[in-house]
Assembly symmetry: C2
Homo-oligomer: 428 residues x 2
């Protein structure tokens, strides 16, 4: 007997699967007792089929998903097309046809995850998507299985490799944002339109998925506060370094008394924090929990082989569920009503960089403004001005999101003060 699978989309990740199936043939046979066979591959056009044949792939290539849906021998459909449509339609049709689905499509899962999971449950098939978050790091399965006995209070991740590559270059080489972006594009890490990576959108999709596994709560992407890299100046990176921090784009989910709060933002991380050493395109997820305490999972966030390895691990898992007759279980079985935190309960230190007129009394006015919102200071640096304008850098003590919003509003109302930047500052 063989486990027959179909692949939708035969791009970078898809073409990695044959390599892994052959490289791990004996191990997979030992684990499953039967072979995983790529039975059909959905392609876009005759030309792409021709190209794949030229590269030496000799699968049963098809141009219509119907050929796959109608094939009763195919039990697992692997969706690797990306984007929302037609992936969503094809996945829905596969689930409705009683086929289990493995996908790496984070956009789709972040936006339509609930609907697809419902559909899988209804048809008693599996829907797995380990590769959707932090490509090569088995974080979703670990959260679902090994944290079943634990209560997570805080998840902090570097889950976008492109932006982490850029931040590493900006921190370690002193590069400006533009140069870092250009290099990322040259190396193929960033697309010509880098919006999803540099504005934190990609990271927020991953946070939405992580929230379900770590906190049992579904977040719409709009419920995740999101700011990206575009505003970061070399001077912010340099000040972070001087004060003992590293500036990174992080995704954070925290549970406080009133609920959960999720945010993607540039963040000052203490140099000793385990995430501070996560560089280049690597990803990592750091977890604080009642039972385990601190733990971290580190690995590649993308790439052909890492992503294909996660996809194949899902295929193996689904194959075992088929063998064991336990298909109808959700990938993640932890679910409770979503409750968003009250902003007044979400506390952080913040970095503020404010340009002021370089005249007597301005510093006092700035201090008065912060004090009027009960914001006190952990560190204050006044940088040498040019005679006309000075820059004041403030690291506040812990303040709430409400206080943060009030301070920002007041700064924006004052014509003299120019709030150049503000970033979250984490403790160790």
């Amino acid at each position: 007997m063989a486990i027959k699978i179909a692949i939708l989309g035969f791009g970078t990740v898809g073409t990695g699967l044959p390599f892994l199936l052959s490289e791990n043939k004996e191990k997979l046979a030992a684990l499953l007792g039967e072979e995983i066979v790529i039975s059909k591959v959905l392609m876009r056009s005759e030309e792409t089929i021709e190209a794949a044949r030229k590269e030496g792939f000799s699968y049963d290539f098809v141009l219509s998903v119907d050929d796959i849906l109608a094939d009763s021998e195919i039990s697992i459909v692997v969706e690797l097309m990306g984007r929302l449509e037609p992936a969503k339609t094809y996945i829905s049709q596969a689930l409705a046809a009683g086929k289990s689905v493995v996908t790496a499509n984070k956009d789709l899962l972040a936006v339509h995850g609930s609907e697809l999971r419902e559909l899988a449950k209804k048809h008693q098939v599996a829907l797995y998507y380990e590769a959707a978050v932090a490509g090569g790091i088995p974080i979703l399965r670990t959260l679902a299985n090994s944290y079943s006995s634990d209560k997570i209070s805080h998840l902090l991740g570097i889950v976008n490799g492109t932006s982490n590559f850029m931040m590493t270059k900006m921190s370690e080489e002193g590069w400006a944002y533009e140069k870092a972006l250009q290099k990322a594009q040259e190396l193929g890490y960033a697309e010509s339109d880098p919006t999803n990576d540099v504005d934190g959108i990609d990271a927020s999709y991953k946070l939405a998925i992580l929230s379900e596994f770590a906190f049992g709560m579904t977040l719409a992407p709009t419920e995740i506060a999101c700011s990206g890299l575009r505003s970061i100046r070399s001077t912010d990176v340099e000040i972070a370094r001087q004060l003992g921090y590293v500036l990174k784009l992080t995704g954070e989910i925290r549970e406080v008394q009133s609920g959960i709060f999720a945010e993607v933002s540039p963040t000052f991380l203490p140099k000793k924090h385990p995430l501070a050493a996560v560089n280049d395109v690597m990803n990592a997820v750091f977890i604080e929990s009642v039972g385990i305490g601190s733990s971290m999972f580190y690995g590649p966030g993308a790439g052909q082989k890492p992503t294909a390895t996660s996809v194949l691990a899902d295929i193996v898992r689904v194959a075992k569920r088929i063998q064991n007759g336990t298909l109808g279980k959700n990938f993640n079985e932890y679910s409770r009503p979503t409750q968003l935190a009250n902003p007044a309960d979400v506390m952080n230190k913040y970095y503020f960089s404010v340009e002021t007129p370089d005249t007597t009394g301005q510093f006092l006015r700035l201090v008065q403004l912060f004090t009027s919102e009960n914001v006190s200071f952990d560190q204050v640096l006044q940088q040498r001005g040019d005679g006309e304008r000075a820059i004041v850098v403030i690291i506040s003590h812990e303040i709430s999101r409400t206080q943060l919003a009030a301070v920002i509003e007041k700064l924006q109302q004052e014509a003299d003060f120019d709030l150049l930047n503000y970033f979250k500052v984490l403790g160790e």
Copy 2:
């Protein structure tokens, strides 16, 4: 319905279970649909029962394991007594009585794992032991599940918290071995007889278990080369630092053409290596594999709550297997014949610290000795001598274990040369 468990041994880890069961009551109920109930607890004596009652525990305490074995409602036995006997007998009896077993007993698993797993398989029950390796890090389950689709070539771990605490103090504070050990004993990390921790024995037990999950091969503890901390001098630590390394006690398993090689030893780790930043009592396992590439799993290696969390995650897993009717599966299903590497195939750089007479020609003789075994040098430092004796530090290029043995033998034959220390040196 409830899942009834019995606990053998109600010490640090055992008394952590009630806390976690209560803290995660709702989550566990959501995951399992039934409650986990501590039905009976095996104690050593009436006095320990009395003491537990005084601490507010009101379980059904028993003094004979027979009361647990005979209770047909108990489906999972949790062994937390440690050491080989009577743990082995009780676990064997529980398995034979058709009860699944969860244990944190690494010594037992390293020494008698195969026999116990056979017994579990024979009686179609589960034997889980996530907590036996790196307490709070879910490394075994992750290897078993998420690396099912991958081929691991190299596993490098910091898996003994006590020795890592000591090495951290020796590296960061410049403490001598004796002072670091004394502090570890004061803090309760090291026992009055620290042999198991400082000689690498504890780490080698963990490697034996990791070898099964990562490489599918069973290693007897005697098949793991093992050296510990006792010989490390402050000057070794300092030279490591000067050359851009951190000295750590690592456990390593590597697969080469001819088989696997496992070793616990002090190791020069490049400062940029992800493991180099793992400090104090924290543990981490770094993995290189064909599919994922580099990944690392970081967390606490011991402690009441982390260990109890891993134990409870196992209990949850076994409970699910009971519900799903899939009990007879091994925790780890990857197994192949053990094949040990030929020492001539295992290549590393090495650090040598050699004391020589401080006279003309000795350095030449030393270089000739190394060259005669085809060992060339990456770095050589001659430290200032006292007029009588000089110390020469050598970092070799990659050499095999066979070459290493030959060089060491030659050095020991030369009355003039005193080999003070030699350690493995890893690349990035």
